[in-house]
């Protein structure tokens, strides 16, 4: 019982650290991350809280509440990443096209 909690806490801290060491991170994102991890930490230490919160919201079990929240969170992550991929793709495309134009081989300057 105690050991799984220790492992979870250690993992949380490692992930939080990995997130926070990013140099160019908006302060607001740091704050949100710290709050979220604090919340998770509390949940690990006192799991009953989630059940009580779930009951207040009319959801049966704490695990269900967490399941919903996790779902929402990962959807958010997926959409964010998807949008970023599109932006990145556009940038790469523009870059590739500009490169092709700049390196154009003209008919008269053929290497033999």
């Amino acid at each position: 019982m105690i050991t799984i909690k220790l492992i979870l806490i250690a993992l949380l801290l490692v992930i939080l650290r990995a997130f926070l060491v990013q140099k160019s991170l908006l302060l607001i994102k740091r704050a949100v991350a710290v709050l979220m991890f604090a919340g998770l930490l509390i949940l690990v230490l006192f799991p009953d809280i989630s059940t009580r919160a779930a009951n207040i919201m009319g959801i049966g079990r704490g695990a269900d509440l967490l399941f919903y929240l996790a779902h929402l969170f990962f959807l958010l992550v997926a959409v964010t990443l998807w949008r970023r991929t599109i932006t990145l793709n556009d940038a790469v495309t523009r870059l590739a096209r500009e490169l092709a134009i700049r390196n154009a081989e003209r008919p008269n300057e053929k290497a033999d």
């Binding site: 590739a96 096209r97 134009i101 390196n103």
Partner: protein
């Protein structure tokens, strides 16, 4: 006024087998055309073949799709002060003889765009039936979305007034750019005309070209990028 310069943009993706024949035909047809081959990240010797001809060669570092290849070639031609831009496939399906009427329509009649159509001629080449049906659906789709009454919405043979094209901002990398061009024609209220062209359906082109199933992909491309 001096003769307007005509730049023919030829997107080519792994067309090493047929590119030489296509370029030879084009040069024999009209030596004054400026030919621009855009090698769209081919893994075969497409670039090597192009280098054997007096063409401008642009090479994408990776495969980006026909729309991107056209956009690159056209952008280049515009920077070279092209007057007229023609889009022409590398795969030998198009006939160079169809180019001049399109160019004439733009130059003499002052149109913004002249579009090739496979359906204006009764003597249509041997187009696969399924492809014909899909293309018909394409015309209906285009009529509904743009109001343009066009007989052939996915024909790759067109001639543009260069200054006009500069305003269109084509962003679709893949095959959906054809619909995008039409949308732009409707949006910018360009003057256009369709002229009959003959497209050859060889075994090679049928094997390599866009199968009917790709219509689904084209639709998907349009919608997934539509909101931007």
């Amino acid at each position: 006024m001096a003769e307007p310069s005509v730049w023919v943009i030829i997107p080519a993706y792994n067309e090493g087998q047929v590119l030489a024949e296509t370029l030879r035909e084009l040069q024999e047809y009209n030596a004054s055309y400026h030919l621009v081959v855009v090698d769209d990240g081919s893994t075969d010797n497409t670039s090597g073949i192009a280098r054997e001809f007096a063409v401008h060669l642009l090479v994408h570092p990776m495969n980006l799709g026909q729309g991107a290849a056209l956009a690159t070639g056209i952008e280049y031609a515009l920077r070279q002060k092209a007057d007229i831009v023609v889009t022409f496939d590398a795969d030998g399906q198009m006939r160079p003889a169809d180019i001049n009427p399109l160019v004439e329509a733009v130059v003499k009649d002052g149109l913004d765009v002249a579009l090739g159509s496979r359906f204006l001629k009764s003597a249509d080449s041997k187009m696969p039936t399924l492809k014909k049906i899909i293309l018909r659906l394409g015309t209906i789709f285009t009529r509904l979305t743009t109001g343009l009454n066009i007989t052939d919405t996915h024909n790759g043979l067109r001639a543009f007034k260069a200054e006009t094209f500069a305003k269109l901002h084509i962003t679709q990398n893949g095959m959906a750019h054809a619909s995008e061009i039409l949308t732009a024609i409707a949006r910018c209220k360009l003057t256009y005309r369709e002229l009959p062209v003959t497209i050859r359906y060889t075994e090679y082109s049928k094997r390599k070209g866009q199968g009917a199933s790709n219509a689904i992909n084209i639709l998907f491309e349009l919608f997934s990028r539509g909101g931007k």
